[in-house]
């Protein structure tokens, strides 16, 4: 149950930031989805939807996506799908319902660093930076790991364009459920990035395993060894959706599928 005492429409990003940090009980409203699932007493709700933060700018070297851009816009963006092998579409399409996709925003998702997020896992295997209003540009990997230095707000993210191949894999008990585990793999130039999320903890890069994959082909031996490395490199846990043991084994299985897919994209 949430209560809100005041509702504020900021006139600019700085205004929004100042209002947010005025009081501890103040909070940002992005898309607003899932807000009421928490238990909060909000003093002033600062609504970002009036700010010009909804855009996907395709520049020569990368994409800049405003914080208030909804998932449906990202999912359906031609350029993003073309340049990233529909990586984001694959990650986002699992979110149940067009309605939620029209409500959930990139900024809120990144800031929340939710463990169950499929989108964050996919984003993590691209070269992405997050622009926070106060802190400035932070690599996504760092932001997911540490969170913001202080209360802040996401202005936009920037995804570098590189020639690469991408794959997103997920496993769930039923089509509308959250992931038991998710995994994304990218090969940009010769470098692999491998991320696993819903471990149940949030998406994290498996650097050692990614390095191991370099210059290798998806043979049975490679997959076996890579899977073992991955199971050892990241922390997996048990919750209602799955046990630790199963998640470890599935990380292996999804890695195999992702590796095959990335290799196929290359050809």
């Amino acid at each position: 149950m949430i209560t809100i005492r005041n509702y504020y429409f900021p006139k600019g990003i700085e205004d929004a930031y100042n209002k947010l940090t005025e009081r501890k009980s103040n909070a940002l409203i992005g898309g607003g989805a899932y807000l009421k699932l928490g238990s909060k007493a909000i003093g002033t709700a600062v609504d970002l939807s009036s700010l010009p933060l909804e855009y996907i700018d395709e520049k020569e070297t990368g994409y800049e996506i405003g914080a208030m851009t909804t998932f449906s816009k990202v999912m359906l963006h031609e350029g993003l799908n073309r340049d990233f092998d529909s990586l984001f579409q694959r990650a986002i399409e699992n979110i149940v319902g067009m309605q939620l996709k029209n409500m959930v925003t990139v900024g809120a998702t990144v800031y929340s660093r939710y463990g169950f997020s499929d989108f964050l896992t996919a984003l993590l295997v691209t070269n992405t930076k997050v622009k926070l209003f106060k802190e400035g540009w932070v690599p996504l990997e760092e932001f997911l790991e540490n969170g913001p230095e202080q209360r802040d707000l996401v202005e936009k993210i920037r995804i570098e364009k590189t020639r690469g191949s991408y794959s997103f894999q997920d496993l769930r008990k039923s089509s509308s459920d959250y992931s038991i585990i998710n995994l994304a793999l990218s090969k940009e130039e010769h470098r692999y990035r491998l991320a696993v999320g819903a471990r149940p903890r949030r998406a994290k890069l498996a650097v050692k395993t990614a390095d191991f994959l370099k210059d290798r082909t998806p043979s049975e031996e490679t997959m076996e060894k890579a899977g073992e490395l991955l199971a050892g490199e990241l922390v997996f846990g048990t919750n209602a959706r799955g046990t630790k043991e199963y998640r470890k084994a599935m990380a292996k299985a999804l890695l195999k599928k992702a590796f095959l897919e990335v290799s196929a994209h290359e050809d």
């Binding site: 149950m1 699932l37 149940v96 496993l171 008990k173 039923s174 089509s175 509308s176 459920d177 038991i180 048990t238 919750n239 209602a240 799955g242 046990t243 043991e245 199963y246 084994a249 599935m250 299985a253 999804l254 195999k256 599928k257």
Partner: protein, 780 residues
């Protein structure tokens, strides 16, 4: 027949799809007091103190009620015929809370926010007791879920033993099972378990009440059982039944969840105490932890057969977890044998024994299939195991042993009280056609050959496919138990009002009963106005359960119409001054042998305003005399991902014998909807409880029901059948449709991946662990 067997659009369709305010909450008075129920966080506890000081300080809160404020009267929440086979073990509020979510206190306020805030601020002190959560050790356990001695059961034979935590016990034996097993060449001994499943209808429980102009208590509720509700409220509130009226508006689904008394008690009580209108709307969370779900059950099944595949004996031992309250416990346990075993009528012996035990888990209740689903899962899975052991095609094994048209089994005479001693013949049984047509539509032989051919190719991709099938029966109403009434009244412009007690919960029975009436009277459907489920106006009807609205209520409608036709003829003779033999009522017109004609409109005006001055009304009642089961065969093809254990259902064919389909489109949707619920039961739905008895998935975010992408292809074959005892030959379809998916899918998984999943649901992790020989430990 003009309307029967026609896919007519539902008569309430426009109102529903246009979003008209026709559901319970839409009709609630704007000034109604809001009620919120404070629920227990503990699985078993004694309430020590309730401090409402902070609650009463919330602006708008009017009062707080605890067990101390209410007269202590035990009742059962079960919507069942009286006397109920369910123990009277519930009090409106009690000193003990017996499951997480059990009601503790009632907070009443001017508006929803105040009620919510007031409920949050209520301080309750509990003595937390050690809960009993394992149903396998519940019987005779030192922890008594119901230590109070003033509860009882109105029916002695139900096997109720409170001091042993036994809510019900049933057994029946025919023939000598030990001998039959001894004579068998092959014996299968196996155990199957199915989980608690939440009905998950889209509209939660809600009700409101008010005092009418005569000072009577009117309760408006989304209930499946208005008459049982009236009787139960009268008892619980210590009011004469004559002072209560129950009205049912449109319902947003029920599937059995609304076949118990839940939300209604609170507004009824509050209005009784305050004289003011009051309402409650259950949150989804409240539905999950405060109502009921399908009983979790475990079965030990023993089958004995000759090496040629003749089934000689079936033994089923069942254990059901009825949770904290015993409504529907005995009856759901009983049906797992009574409406499952008769399908194999050629055996020498059948033995059934079932026990339903109390635990501090969430209560079990009615859910489409009502025990038959769980029993069918166990027996049909065991039969598939038998087929494998015999190296016999599972379809052939069924065809050899299942009941066929015109056959009987002495089981029917044994298990149903009040039946005639003569054998009960399944004269309308089209199970053979179900199996044959289902097999053809599914292309059983060709598909299995194809799967065999593609096996290696699929394996390289990490996948495997397999098929499975199962058969099932259910019932059409409850013989000699539940009755229905219908009254038909002729209005003074030649149209009829059809009053029925039957409850349309979205299934379309208002439409179906109108179709039946129209054809029974031979008038056009626009001459029938149906009015249903208002205990002041409607004739008695047990309600929407046991697959009874078409068969039982439909027959009552036919009887009423038959009587009306006689009345019309009788009074037409008076009006026309003819002998009755020379007058007939056909195609909506009154005709004489001399060639005179009188329209129904003219006739009704004449008898109302002059000449005769009579109101013509006719009432028909009907109770089923014998079991008239619908039958079904289900066929499934799955693909298993060998790396992850994930199961995709590629194709499901359901062939249903429901007798005449009064409305084929509605019958087909029943089949599709039921099959999809069966898929949820088989593959992922699971009421997941922690080691402290707390429900882990108490929202649609966590408890997932099938969504559109969870199925690929579902095909329905409606077998044309006809039962002479049914209205225009109809039987039933409401429940049977949920019974075949689980055993068929489990078998298909076995054929694909070589693993037999013995407890539902077959989640990816379970399948994977079975494939990798890892013992599955459910997450606590």
């Amino acid at each position: 027949m003009k309307y029967v067997n026609d896919s007519i659009k539902k008569i309430d369709s426009d109102a529903l799809l246009r979003g008209k305010g026709v559901y319970t909450d839409d009709l609630s008075p704007k000034d109604a007091l809001w009620i919120k129920v404070v629920r227990s966080p503990h699985a078993f506890a004694k309430i020590l103190t309730v401090d409402d000081r902070l609650t009463m300080r919330v602006p708008g809160v009017e009062m707080v009620l605890t067990y101390k404020d209410i007269k202590r009267i035990p009742f059962t929440r079960a919507g069942q015929n009286y006397p109920e086979f369910s123990p009277y073990d519930k009090f409106i509020l009690d000193e003990y809370v017996r499951h997480v979510g059990d009601d503790v206190a009632i907070v009443v306020a001017e508006n929803e926010k105040s009620a919510e805030m007031g409920a949050k601020r209520l301080k309750v002190d509990y003595e937390v007791l050690e809960p009993l959560l394992d149903f396998t050790i519940a019987e005779g356990h030192s922890t008594l879920v119901h230590p109070e001695e003033d509860n009882f059961i109105p029916v002695d034979s139900a096997g109720y033993q409170r001091e042993k935590n036994l809510a019900g016990e049933i057994g029946f034996d025919i023939g000598d099972i030990d001998e039959a097993l001894e004579q068998s060449d092959v014996v299968i001994r196996t155990t199957y378990e199915s989980q608690a499943q939440a009905q998950s209808m889209m509209e939660t429980q809600r009700a409101f009440s008010y005092e009418d102009v005569y000072g009577r208590l009117v309760v408006v509720s989304a209930t499946q059982v208005p008459f049982h509700l009236r009787r139960t409220l009268a008892r619980a509130l210590d009011l004469p039944m004559s002072k209560i009226r129950v009205i049912k508006p449109r319902i947003g689904g029920g599937f059995g969840s609304k076949q118990s008394v839940h939300a209604e008690v609170y507004p009824a009580l509050v209005t009784k105490l305050t004289g003011k209108p009051s309402k409650i709307v259950y949150t989804r969370k409240e539905v999950f932890k405060g109502t009921t779900s399908r009983h979790k059950m475990r079965f030990e099944v023993t089958l004995g057969a000759t090496k040629d595949g003749d089934l000689l004996g079936i033994k089923m031992n069942g254990l059901s977890d009825t949770g904290a309250y015993g409504e529907h416990a005995n009856t759901t346990m009983g049906t797992t044998g009574k409406k499952v075993m008769p399908i194999y009528n050629k055996v020498k012996a059948s033995s059934f024994h079932g026990k339903a035990v109390y635990t501090n888990n969430l209560p079990g209740g009615a859910f489409r299939g009502y025990g038959v689903t769980q029993g069918t899962f166990a027996l049909e899975s065991a039969m598939n195991e038998l087929a494998e052991k015999l190296k016999m095609d599972p379809v052939k094994l069924r065809e050899r042993n299942m009941i066929k048209k015109g056959e009987t089994t002495p089981l029917y005479n044994l298990i149903r009280e009040g039946l005639p001693p003569e054998p009960v013949y399944m004269n309308s049984c089209e199970l053979e056609a179900c199996v044959k047509r289902g097999k053809e539509r599914f292309q059983w032989d060709e598909r299995n050959r194809r799967i065999e051919r593609e096996k290696d190719f699929l394996k390289k991709k990490g996948k495997a496919r397999g098929t499975g099938m199962a058969i099932a029966q259910q019932g059409s109403g409850l013989p000699k138990v539940d009755m229905a009434g219908a009254t038909i009244k002729l209005n003074d412009d030649g149209f009829f009002t059809l009053l029925v007690g039957a409850t349309d919960l979205g299934t379309g029975c208002d439409t179906i009963l109108s179709q039946i009436a129209a054809d029974a009277l031979e008038v056009s459907m626009d001459k029938i106005n149906i009015h249903a489920a208002d205990t002041d106006l409607s004739p008695f009807d047990s309600g929407a359960y046991a697959s009874s609205t078409t068969y039982t209520s439909g027959n009552a409608v036919i009887e009423a119409c038959r009587k009306m036709r006689v009345l019309i003829t009788e009074y037409a003779a008076k009006v026309l001054e003819e002998d009755e033999e020379d007058v007939s009522f056909q195609q909506g017109k009154i005709l004489t042998s001399a060639g005179k004609e009188l329209s129904l409109e003219e006739f009704s005006k004449v008898i109302t305003y002059s000449l005769v001055y009579e109101q013509l009304t006719a009432t028909g009642s009907f109770v089923p005399k014998i079991p008239v089961p619908p039958y079904m065969a289900g066929f499934a093809e799955v693909e298993v991902d060998l790396d992850t254990g994930k199961v995709e259902l590629l194709d499901f064919v359901g062939a249903v014998d429901c007798g005449t389909a009064i409305n084929p489109a509605l019958a087909r949707v029943q089949a599709e909807g039921g099959i999809v619920q069966g898929i949820g039961l088989a593959l992922f739905e699971d009421v997941n409880v922690s080691s402290k008895g707390k429900l882990k998935n108490n929202s649609f975010m966590q408890y997932k029901i099938p969504a559109r992408n969870d199925l690929h292809r579902i095909q329905i074959e409606l077998i044309e059948g006809h039962d002479d005892t049914g209205p225009f030959g109809a039987k039933a379809i409401g429940e049977i449709v949920v019974n075949t998916p689980s055993p068929a899918i489990i078998e298909a998984i076995c054929q694909a991946a070589g693993v037999r999943i013995r407890s539902l649901p077959a989640t990816p992790e379970k399948v994977w662990k079975a494939m990798n020989n890892r013992h599955y430990v459910p997450e606590k």
